[in-house]
Amino acid sequence: MTAVKITVNGQAFEHNVPDNTLLVSFIRETLGLTGTHVGCDTSQCGACVVHIDGRSVKACTMLAAQADGSEITTIEGIANGDELHPMQKAFHENHGLQCGYCTPGMVMSAIELVGENKKLTEKQIREGLEGNICRCTGYHNIVKSVQAAAHEMDI
C-alpha cells in the first residue's frame, strides 16, 4: 500500500491505496469524482485528462503514487459555482458534445491548449487535440467550441 496525499479541486485528500492504483482509478473510485472518464485505459482516447499542477495529463497513464503531493483539477473543479468555465460554456453553446463521453477530457485538454496560445488556428486546435478521440461529433463543433472559448478567454 502507498499513502497518497493530493489536493483535488482545492480539497486535500490522503488515502492509502494499492501501489498499482492508477491515478484515474484513484480519482473515480477512491474520491468518487466520476466526471473524469475512462475510455480506453491505454493512453489513447484522452477521456481521462485532468490537470496536474496546471498541465493536462492522461490520468490512466500514471499511478496515483506518482501524483503524490500534486494539485489536481478535474472537470468538476473548473466551473465557478453555477457559472461555467468559458470552455464549458463554449462547448454548450456550440454543441461541442453529443454523448459527452469524451467531453471532460476534451475540455481539460482544450483549456491547457488555449492557455498556451489564445490565437490558435483551426489546424493548431486539431493538432493540439490529437490525443483526444471523440466517436460522436466529427470534431467540427469541438474545434468551433475551442475557437469560441479562445476568443472569450482572450478578452
Binding site: T74, L84, Q88, E122
Partner: protein, 71 residues
Amino acid sequence: MRWISKMSESAIKYGIGALDRRIENRKVLIGECRHTDEVNRKVQLLAYSLHPNVAHNGTAKAALKIGVKEI
C-alpha cells in the same frame, strides 16, 4: 483563422438543423452525468458476451468452466 459557418446567423439559430442547447449538456459538462459503468448495485446482473476471434469453440468451453452459464 476563425472557423466561419456558411449558414446565416438566423439559419443557425432557428432554421432546420439549428443548434439546440440541450438541457442535459450541463450535467455532462460539469462532470455530473452517470454512465452504466458507474451503476453498482449489490445484487446486479452482469452479462458478458464472449466472442472468439477464430472459428473454434474453445472460448465457449472455457467460459463454461469458469461458471458462466450458457444462454
